[in-house]
């Protein structure tokens, strides 16, 4: 028997959400234990800060320029490389349970397999050649709407709970700006759903059910993918006693003085201020009719309280799955990898949600690898820059198979010295959005404690503009040093290194077939 792999992802979770990364509010003892016994990466970035491109990188081991899923709504081709398919080919049973999102969710034509499988209540359309290499797919997204399996399950079994969830889209199919809770914060909603019907619990229970279906001697790879803590923020109301928003401090990077906040935003690429003022909506990730400049301190607190509760529920769900795995006798041979697809502002800079903003709020992510105890790998913290692009090679390494030729980065290291040996010197992130003529293109490198973002020609920026932050002395990224002549050589070196290492982008960009 070989090592089993449990790959856990959340959606839109910050690095500091977890106790092991300094989080002080949400109690995450299960994830903290993975960190304590594993390798915790303190500078892990996604290769894109929205869902579909980022998840496509996890599956393919490729940068966005290569796999071509440059924005939500651009489907990953059915024949794209998949590490799940390679693991399956070596004998692993494979499953993806929860949020996949390699294909658009808004799909009235049911063109895409994920939605079609949900609509048909199928977990595998083609057992001989399963979709993306997963023997079993049971899928969910952020609520009860749509065609995916969780939506079908709750409609079938608890139809009275369907309308308990926040309505993600408004009557004009825009991301809903309606506020709720005590403060009327956007996308906050009091959800009377029982915890056992909530999608976090459903993901855990479906994962346990799949694991229980396997013979004891079978190796397996299970991607357990929680839709939370992505907005809407509508966890079960019965759990909200855990964190009172009135008791929370404001986040460290919430700039309370509006004059100072706006000066910080004005120092960045112009689309930041455009979004803040509500004049430039570049993508479909946040409510177009909500103006961030109206965000109040209490709304920031309440959004954070709901998020902390969702993070606690995720931790407890993971504990149940880990218990089920132990009870099967697999614990000693189990590798667990934990990460998220991208971050969330949660009030940083007076903003919520996400978009073309390449700062730690959205780019610095939790990433933990708890190797199988039988592998006898010592716990460590790694500060070298790493990315999701290394996950596929890591799964191959754990399974003892050769690194697939299609992956574009080495596996994750097990300690700091090995990071250098493997060549983890930099991590790259791309952004492209062209939604109805509003164009933003960004390319970012993080290395040597600097984050350098180059804008390409777009609606509000032109090539030659950018952002440069010194993470060592300006960890909140308030001071944009792009135009600082004293570090011009450093900036140029970072840019040269970025262009040397970023794969060339296949043009024209593939078509965007849905907003999300």
């Amino acid at each position: 028997m070989g090592r089993k792999i449990l790959f856990i992802t959340t959606d839109q979770q910050r690095y500091d959400a977890l106790g092991c990364n300094g989080g002080m509010i949400a109690r995450t003892p299960t994830i903290d234990a993975l960190s304590k016994n594993g390798i915790t990466f303190d500078r892990a970035h996604p290769q894109n800060v929205v869902c579909m491109p980022s998840r496509s990188t996890m599956l393919t081991g490729q940068h966005v320029a290569t796999h071509g899923v440059w924005m939500n709504g651009v489907p990953l081709p059915e024949d794209a490389p998949s590490i799940a398919a390679d693991l399956r080919a070596t004998g692993y049973a494979t499953a993806l349970i929860g949020k996949a999102h390699f294909e658009p969710l808004l799909d009235p034509f049911l063109r895409f397999t994920e939605n079609r499988m949900g609509a048909h209540r199928s977990t595998n359309e083609n057992p001989n050649d399963p979709h993306r290499g997963f023997d079993h797919m049971e899928l969910a997204t952020h609520g009860a709407a749509g065609a995916l399996h969780y939506s079908q399950w709750i409609r079938d079994n608890h139809p009275e709970a369907v309308l308990n969830y926040y309505r993600v889209l408004d009557n004009e199919l825009q991301v809903n700006a309606e506020g709720g809770g005590d403060t009327k914060a956007p996308q906050v909603h009091v959800n009377p759903i029982p915890t056992e019907w909530y999608h976090t619990e459903w993901v855990a229970q479906r994962t346990i059910a799949w694991l229980e279906s396997l013979p004891a001697d079978r190796d397996w790879f299970c991607w357990m993918s929680f839709p939370d803590p992505h907005h809407p923020w509508d966890p079960p109301a019965s759990e909200m006693h855990r964190v009172r928003w009135q008791d929370l401090d404001l986040p460290e990077n919430y700039i309370a003085n509006s004059t100072t906040r706006e000066a910080v935003l004005d120092d960045k690429l112009r689309h930041w201020r455009g979004w803040y003022d509500g004049t430039f909506v570049s993508n479909y990730e946040a409510p177009a009719r909500w103006v961030p400049a109206t965000l109040t301190q209490d709304q920031v607190r309440e959004v954070n309280a709901y998020t902390h509760v969702e993070n606690e529920l995720i931790d407890e769900a993971i504990a149940k799955v880990m218990g089920a795995i132990e009870s099967r006798g697999w614990g000693n041979d189990l590798d667990v990898l934990y990460t998220t697809d991208h971050g969330e502002f949660q009030g940083d800079f007076g903003l919520l949600f996400k978009g073309p903003y390449h700062v730690d709020s959205l780019m610095r992510l939790p990433l933990i690898w708890r190797p199988a105890p039988s592998a006898n790998i010592a716990p460590a913290r790694v500060s070298a820059p790493v990315g999701h692009v290394s996950l596929a090679a890591t799964f191959a390494h754990i399974a003892g198979i050769a690194q697939p030729s299609y992956v574009e980065a080495p596996r994750l290291p097990i300690h700091q010295a090995e990071a250098e040996q493997l060549g983890h010197e930099r991590v790259l992130t791309e952004w492209d959005s062209v939604l109805f003529g509003k164009i933003v293109h960004l390319r970012t490198i993080c290395r040597d404690n600097w984050v350098c973002t180059a804008a390409l020609d777009g609606t509000m920026s032109k090539a030659g503009e950018g952002e440069l932050y010194d993470l060592a002395h300006d960890p909140l990224q308030h001071v944009n040093r792009w135009d600082d002549p004293s570090i011009r050589t450093l900036r140029d070196d970072l840019l040269a290194d970025m262009w040397d290492n970023l794969p060339s982008q296949n043009l024209p960009l593939r078509s965007m077939d849905a907003p999300v």
Partner: protein, 129 residues
């Protein structure tokens, strides 16, 4: 307003391609829908998700090789105009173009995606090898 355009060159004469895509009752043979029905200047199409669109045929011009239609009587869709053009590009080649303008703007994207599938299907059927 959401506006999308998809197109493809078909290696076939424009009259032959138009005879197919300019027949409103044959939409289901190339567009990813499950069925369609035409009565006079009305058309009803059914999507795989079970949604039915009622449409008014507003242009069917065999000289221009242009077909235009509107989705009507749908509480969600406040404006729509879809256009299919077949434009000759020499005696044995033509440009097949599908455009949609609509509100809510985001719905234009999946319709554009479906049009891309449809145009690929027409190429598969008519491209002379």
């Amino acid at each position: 307003m959401g506006t999308v355009r998809r197109y493809g060159f078909v290696e076939c004469d424009a009259d032959t391609v138009w005879a197919f895509v300019g027949a409103p009752e044959r939409l289901h043979e190339w567009f990813p829908i499950t069925s369609c029905r035409v009565e006079g200047n009305k058309r009803w199409i059914v999507l795989a998700a079970g949604i039915t669109f009622e449409e008014d045929i507003v242009t069917l011009d065999h000289d221009l090789r242009r077909f235009q239609y509107k989705i009507v009587n749908n509480p969600l869709i406040t404006f729509h105009l879809g256009t299919v053009d077949v434009i000759p590009d020499g005696p044995n080649r033509c440009l097949l173009m599908y455009s949609t303008d609509m509100d809510p703007e985001v719905l234009a994207l999946p319709i554009g995606g479906a049009a891309g599938v449809g145009i690929a299907k027409v190429k598969e059927m008519f491209d002379r090898k």
